[in-house]
Structures are given as structure tokens and as C-alpha cells.
Assembly symmetry: C4
Homo-oligomer: 200 residues x 4
Amino acid sequence: MEAFSDGVIAVAITLLVLAIVPPSLETTANTSLIYELGKQWPHYIAYVISFMTIGIIWINHHAMISRLAQADHSILILNLILLMTIAILPFATDLMATYLPADHGQKLAAGVYGGAFLLMAVAFSVLNRHILLYRAHMLSTEIPLEERRRILVRATAGLVPYVLATALAAVSAYATLAICGALAVFYALPIASGTTTQHQ
Amino acid sequence: MEAFSDGVIAVAITLLVLAIVPPSLETTANTSLIYELGKQWPHYIAYVISFMTIGIIWINHHAMISRLAQADHSILILNLILLMTIAILPFATDLMATYLPADHGQKLAAGVYGGAFLLMAVAFSVLNRHILLYRAHMLSTEIPLEERRRILVRATAGLVPYVLATALAAVSAYATLAICGALAVFYALPIASGTTTQHQ
Amino acid sequence: MEAFSDGVIAVAITLLVLAIVPPSLETTANTSLIYELGKQWPHYIAYVISFMTIGIIWINHHAMISRLAQADHSILILNLILLMTIAILPFATDLMATYLPADHGQKLAAGVYGGAFLLMAVAFSVLNRHILLYRAHMLSTEIPLEERRRILVRATAGLVPYVLATALAAVSAYATLAICGALAVFYALPIASGTTTQHQ
Amino acid sequence: MEAFSDGVIAVAITLLVLAIVPPSLETTANTSLIYELGKQWPHYIAYVISFMTIGIIWINHHAMISRLAQADHSILILNLILLMTIAILPFATDLMATYLPADHGQKLAAGVYGGAFLLMAVAFSVLNRHILLYRAHMLSTEIPLEERRRILVRATAGLVPYVLATALAAVSAYATLAICGALAVFYALPIASGTTTQHQ
């Protein structure tokens, strides 16, 4: 289950680059390569934000799965749904980057982008809650109920910024992008995690 | 063999997203982004159905392979043919989603979609049968012949709905899609499996 | 090294499907979907042949790597070159399938296709020879020199059909395709290998 | 962490082939297939150079990760940033190959290509430095400080040619390509490494 999940996340994160396409020779003949590459800036920013966000989800997913000694059908299916929300992100990222500088569709694209991240965060939260509350006997080391509840409260609180990012798309696409970017930076900072993952 | 199979299935399942392309700025300038995204609904539905179906095949494949202590040439080749039928699904999914709302080719595309699933199910069934009947000595734990026969009968019965889905394409593409979707939901439900897969 | 090689081969084999694209709605409006799908037959055949050939190379690669207890820089680099020849096959396959039914470029495309397979077979042979002759001390179980030479003679003999397939492209593209297809079938047959690969 | 990194690098290295597209039948009808394939030579060269460079980064990455017994949040995040710079290389490679024979944008494209390699080398160096200097207690076998400093000096010296390759893009795109190619060849030579990586 871990190898397959790692594979799907690794492919999805690497497919992000397909949204960044070299400008055609015909286009740059009329303008210039530097101008056309500059025009692609939303794609570069969206690439970095989505890459870091998927990467952080992978870190969290890895930590969650490592706690498991077994996996039953319900865990496999909820995990599959989580992977489905991750695998859609290359599309949502491309959409966001394409419409950010456009004169129409900007807010809807941002809403889809924030919404896709929110969906992924919800799917992660549902799987986490399922494991910690209803499949606690499958954990490799027993975690006290209180500790499990604390993990869940913190995880659920993590949904709030993505709700905000999605809702603010109605006001400004840049607000959505800024929140998603700030979250990626925040989760990358040392304060976001003191966990030491056992290697191999 | 398991790592390679996991890899191929993980790539195939993630490539499904490539069929969902952001509408071009030129198109949405004449209509609107929300209208063009809405028009893509067959792609979203086909994405979910194909993702869940491939994911469930992966779960079953994993369970089948886990039973093996060894693999000989015949198993490797039949497994390769199964992977070949899985890797074609991004094409069949794209075809189905593209032609579902069209005024022509709808039924043929649905037939190809149902037929691709049927082909995958048959390839899975052949491999399963080969292992359980002719390579039983390669299983890591002995399974009584009666139990093996019961597994095979159940697996063969699982082909029937895909035969139906493919045949019904001649009547209605929506019928094919509905059956494939219902099967994905059914196999995702807890009743579909009580198996506890050993983790790692 | 094995995980990375498995990954590259799994991605390359799955990318083959990207050459099979649903016919556009505009095209099929003038003709029909069944006609346009039928016209794609070289892509289906090339997909099957290339998929099986890459799959068989994976089986052989896996067997070769399994014999190793260690890998030094030279093995890693020769392995990398082999992977490079495998990763180019989606291009060669697409080229062959595109030009097979065309009124020009047919033979050159077939030559590139046969040549790409030949290149892969040569790279495999070089790596195999390097391991068996110059890195025999890195094998996990000692193989007598005579046995190693027999493996190498058999492996080198395996290059001959691909030389033939490439050369015959100058006469007929269909001859190249037929030989490559026959080879894939031959290597898939039970007679081609009696080896029992240890699972996991 | 290693499986995920292997996955990302394996996908990125295999996606390089997507930049090599069979010439369209319409184009070759006016010229010829051999002429159009010949015109793609920068894509072939860039494919080989990028494939070998990513492959060598994988070898070094593997050696670096193997030294670790554990990985904390900071290592995971710096590794993620390194993977992000690797995953962008299919774009940089395509850009370089597209603009190398063009009458405009050539030097900028070469600068982006050299710069992308430099960025990757810097990200690698930062992760390496972080592990060897600040996370030395997470190494599986203790390495004396002096030895660790020697590794770092050598690694930092490895950045110089990429700085040169990027800077020389302002003079000639071919100079950039030549340096990147020479580096790939140099690192592939036996003298570049005497390390024996423990297999599996």
C-alpha cells in the first residue's frame, strides 16, 4: 500500500511540470523568448506551491501510514480516494496558472485550485480520523485516545486555511494563491514539525 | 515483480488526469470558463470511475501476488499481459469521455470503454486461474483445492457485469457508464471485502 | 538501483499509451469513429509489441540484477545507458506507428524502430557481459566461467534477429514489424525460459 | 523517503522523451522524414545529456541517502526542494533543444538550461551540507569531521563548472551545451567514482 501510494504521489508531483511548455518559435519570433517566458510566471509560482504542497502531503501521508501495522479494505479505499484527489492536482494547477493573468475566469480557476487542495485535505483528514478512531487496533504502537484526539483536532484545524483560500477566491484569485503559498512555506518550516521519521 | 506492477499501475492511474485539460483562453473568451468546465463533466465522471476501478484492481492484484512465494516465466508473462490491459485504460477513458456527449460515436466509445474493462477483468481472471490451478505449489501458504475453486468461481462471476456493460453499449452509452460506476462503488463498499491485508 | 530501474521501465512502458490518442470530434464528424479507430491499427499493434518487448527486457533485467550482491560505478553507469535506450522507445514506437501506413518515410521509421530495439539489446548485452566477465566477484552466488560464457553466447545470439529486423527495414517496414512481433511472442512462450524467479 | 525520491527522479528522467515528438505527416510530405528527424538533433543531444546528468544525480542522491539512518523534517523538506529542481529539467531540456537552432532566444534558453542544472547542483549541495554538518548524528556510520569537510569541499567544487556553463550562455549556447555534456561524460567515467554501493 505504501509503495503504490508513493508511486501515485511521485507521478502526480512530477506531472506538474507538463503544464510548463516552452513558448513556440512562432510566438517568440513576434515578441521575444524572455517576454514569453516572463508571461509564464503564474505557472512557475503555481508549480512551486503545488510541488511543495503535494510533497508535504506525502510527508504527512508517510507518517500516517507508518503508524499502521495492517490495512483493511476500508483503509485501502479511503486511501485510494485520497490519492484520487492528489492525482487531480496537475489539472487544477494548470487551470489556475492559465487563468490567473486572464481577464475572465480568474476567480473560478482560483476557486477550483483552492477547492482541490481543500478536497485533498478533507480526504486526508477522513482517512486519518478513520484510522485513529475506528482502526486504532491496527496501529503498530498503541497511542492513547487523548493523544489521538489531539492529533485529530490539530489535523482538522489544518482544514480552516484551505476553506478560507477557497472562499476568498470569490474576492481575489491572488488571495487564494497567497494563502496556499503561505501554507506551503509554513508547513516547510522547522516549527511545523519536530517529528523524526525513522529512515528505511 | 510486485514493485514493477505497482509502478505500472501507479503510472497508469495517474496518467488518467492528462485527459482533463484546462479549456483554452480563446474558447472561454467566447463562452465562459464555468460553461466550458461544465461541458467537461463526462471527463470528471470517467476519471472517478476509472481511477476507482484501477485502484480496486490494484488491491486485488496486490492480494493475488501476496499469496505467491515464487513466480515463474508463465506468471510473469500473464502478469505483463494484465498490466498491458491496465495501461491502455487512460486511452479508453479519454475516448469514452470525449464521445459521451457527442452526436456520433457515442455507443462505440462506450463499447470500447466497457470492453477495455472486460479485457482487464479477463486478463486478471486468467492470471488468477493459472496461479490457483496450475501454480498452486508456488503459493506461500497452502490453500485447499475447494477454497481455490470457490475463489475462482467468485472471480469468474465478477466478469458478468463487465460483459453486460460492454453489450449494453449497443443500446446506451449511459448504461455502460452506469454499470461501470456502480461496480466501482460496489467494490469500494465494506461488504465487497472482509480481507485484512498484512501491511508492509 | 533495482527500485530506480524498475521505476524508469514502469514509466516508459506506461507512456506508450500516450501515442494512442482519441480521434478528434471534428475528424470523426466527417468520417466516423469506427473508421478513425480502425485507421489507428498500427498504433495498437506497435503498442502490444513494444509493451511486451519492454516487459520482457524488464524480466531479463530483473534476473540480471538479482544475481548481483553489489554494484559499482561502472555497473550503475552502464545500467543508466540501458535505461536511456529503454526510455526512448515510446518515441520510436509512436514514429513507427505513425509512418507505417504513410506513403513516405515508412522504411526509415521502421529502421528507427528496429534500431531502437537493437540499441536496447546491445546496451543490455554490454551490461550483462561487463557483469559476468569483469564484475563476477560482485555476484551473490558464484557462477562457473563456462556457465557465464554460455549465458553470454546465448545473449549475443539474441541480437541477431534485431540486426535482421533493422536491416530488413530497407526492404519492407512490415518485415521489421513482423520480426519484432515474432520475437515478443517467442520470448513470451514458456520455452523461452524455464527460470524460476524468487518472488519478493 | 528513498522510494519516493527514486520515484520522482525515475518519472522526471523518463518524461524527457516527451520532448521528442515524431514529425507530423503533413510536414514530412513537403520535406522528408529523414530531413525532419535530422532537424531534431538538438533534442537527441539534449536528451542524452539530461538523461545522464539526472541519472548521475540519482547515483549521488542514492549514496547520500544511504548514509542516513534517520531523516527529520528539515532533511525531508530540503530533499523535496532538490526533487523540485530535478522535476523541472524536462521543461528546461525541451526549451534548450527547441531554441538551440533558432535565430532568436538561443542564449536565453541555454542560460535557463545551465541555470536549471546549477539550481539542482546547489539544492543537492545544500542538502548534503545540511546532513554532513548539522545532522551528522543521523548518519548510520560515523564519519570523521575532516572526512565530511573533504566531501563538502569536493561537492562545492562541483558547482563551478555549472556556474561557468550558465555564465557562458551569454556568449554561446553551444558552449553551455558542450560543458554540460562534458560534465555528464566526466561523471560517467570510472575515475569519477571508486565507490562501491551496497546493492539491496
